[in-house]
Amino acid sequence: MDKLNSDVTRPRGPVVIDIESITKDYVMGEEIVRALRGVSLQIRHNEYVAIMGPSGSGKSTLMNMFGCLDTPTSGRYEFNGEDVAAMNDDELAAIRNRQIGFVFQTFNLLPRSTSLRNVELPLIYAGMDPEARVERATQVLVDVGLGDRIHHKPNELSGGQRQRVAIARALVNNPSIILADEPTGDLDSKTGEEIMALLEDLYSRGNTIILVTHERDIARHARRTVHLRDGIIESDEVDVIPAMEAIAAS
């Protein structure tokens, strides 16, 4: 395992996510669950980070923080230099819309809408003109290899194709980060590898990707792996092997 705990190999792009000693407490009945107990982390532009940890480690909570779906109980969170912790619901919605592309384990497509309409959705919320919207959504669908599935509904697509639609939807607003939560969890391993190849491709084209997974094989694709346990960071390592493999493969 050639894991280097060094700053030397890290990309030096601008900081996108900057969190400092954040905590998150949940009240469950009479008990207070301390999901995060002080996590500090910086993620720069064009990084490929995997967040790993067993269930209950706080990785879902951390992902919700990254995704601006939730705000921390205490600590500082800046997204592209903006203080997220102080934002209200609608400001968070605007950040999610423009800066964050979500890829879910269960795809979360609207079942009765075509691929195009699904991919269009974030553009609608962003207030883009209909013609520009269709053009942009079509282009992204072509980019992920679904040029011939634009007018299909999710139930007419395979699992891998559905996840591609979801990835297209995540990409459509040119977000600062792509947040993929177990993106291969509902796919067979071959299709899963295809999806990981697509993410690899997106990374090589300059996107920032944060991958949440409990599978070591999936996490291996990332260049940096953050291990969480009991609400704190256990390790934060940069992995040079996949990078070399990728270079060798290309």
Binding site: R98, F102, R112, Y125, A126, M128, N173
Partner: protein
């Protein structure tokens, strides 16, 4: 603003897709609204019909005619005070006309004596009972609103001489002369023959209570010759300017007191009636019928509205994960609120539209089957129906839509 429009368009598309994919559920829910709207609209048409009938009945009295009689046209608690009043006499009309002629700038135009009684009218083997037989003068025609189906009113000469001629109402003509023309035929009233000179065209009924077409009108001298027993007289006074009705009424009261020779300390022993006063007596009754009717039928719409609220809550619950996804993709609270409001409103709008169409067809059918049933389908009613259904959707969809908009995205995304 632009974004709002796009969100609106998106919500509309989703709403339509939602209704389509849940056809049975949407239809059943809409049915509640349809029934509610049909009930309320039919009630509305009935109320409209009552109003039209009411106005029509009121118009019979003319808005420029004062009626001098023994009784006021309203319910009185002290009826015994009126019972003992002196009877009104037809001769008062002459006295009144003389005084009107002598008064410069009088507000009154002319006084017309009438005297009425109920009798049977016969022709050959046919007989009509309880016909209002009225004696009056030829000028009576100027206070009346009726037209002639055929023939004419009796003229001044016939009026003065008390010729045995008469004008008959539509119902009387219909009953006694089903096929032939009654003109120049003689009908028997109290065993006396009267030649028919005119037939009044159909007038309908007064508030549906009694027919205005069951009437015979004849010259007063002829009437007085045969029908004095139990007859009741009333003097009709036409005013010059109906905008000065109150002045005219005061003037007439003064004249009547002189006719009756009442000393100043005595109260009027007659009543001067007019259309407006009758209207204000009957209006509250009509209005309370309308309110009660709308309230009761409104309950069915209320039940439909509860159905809308219920289905929207179900829809929100079912689509919790979708709401979470939308929020993750950048939907704001307002967007989600709007989406569910549009869904509930679209359902109500559709229900309202179908309901109105049903109501229209039913009105048409009822109108064809019972031509005299008071029904009045108006544009205002359609507009009101649509507004009510849209408001129903907005108001009753609000609570579930609000719940949806406030959902925590993390919880919503995790919902299975």
């Amino acid at each position: 603003m632009k974004r709002f429009r796009y969100e609106l368009g998106e919500s509309w598309k989703i709403a339509v897709a939602q209704m389509r994919s849940n056809m049975t559920r949407s239809t059943l829910t809409a049915l509640g609204v349809i029934i509610g709207i049909v009930a309320v609209t039919l009630m509305g048409t009935a109320i409209g019909g009552i109003q039209v009938g009411f106005d029509k009945s009121m118009a019979i009295f003319g808005d420029d005619v004062l009626y001098v009689g023994q009784w006021p046209w309203k319910n009185v608690d002290d009826w015994w005070n009126y019972r003992d009043r002196k009877k009104i006499k037809t001769e008062y009309a002459e006295g009144l006309n003389r005084m009107i002629a002598m008064t410069p700038n009088s507000n009154l135009a002319i006084a017309i004596p009438t005297s009425s009684v109920y009798r049977s009218v016969k022709y050959q083997d046919s007989e009509v009972n309880n016909v209002l037989v009225r004696g009056t003068v030829s000028d009576y025609i100027i206070t009346s609103t009726f037209d002639f189906k055929e023939g004419r009113f009796f003229n001044e000469l016939e009026s003065r001489n008390g010729a045995n001629v008469c004008v008959i109402g539509y119902d009387v003509a219909d009953a006694l002369f089903p096929s032939a023309s009654p003109i120049d035929k003689s009908v028997l009233i109290n065993g006396q023959p009267f030649k028919v000179v005119g037939v009044i065209s159909r007038q309908g009924s007064f508030l549906g209570l009694f027919s205005l077409d069951s009437i015979v009108v004849m010259p007063l001298p002829a009437f007085q010759k045969y029908f004095t027993a139990k007859s009741e007289a009333e003097v009709l006074v036409k005013v010059k300017d109906k905008t000065k009705l109150a002045d005219a009424k005061d003037e007439l009261a003064g004249l009547m007191r002189r006719v009756r020779g009442l000393p100043p300390e005595k109260k009027d022993d007659f009543s001067i009636n007019e259309q407006q006063a009758l209207k204000s007596t009957l209006d509250p009754i009509k209005d309370s019928i309308a309110i009660a009717g709308l309230f009761i039928t409104g309950l069915s719409l209320f039940v439909g509205a509860i159905g809308i609220m219920n289905i929207t809550f179900v829809s929100v619950k079912e689509r919790t994960k979708e709401i979470g996804t939308r929020k993750a993709l950048g939907a704001r609270r307002r967007t989600i609120l709007l989406q569910f409001l549009i869904e509930s409103t679209a359902l109500c709008f559709l229900g309202g539209f179908i309901g109105l169409a049903f109501a229209y067809v039913m009105c048409f059918g009822i109108g064809k089957a019972f031509p005299f049933f008071p029904i009045h389908f108006s544009f205002g009613l359609v507009l009101a129906g649509m507004i009510v259904s849209v408001m129903t959707g907005l108001i009753w969809g609000f609570a579930p839509a609000w719940t949806a908009s406030r959902l925590d995205p993390v919880t919503a995304l995790r919902y299975e």
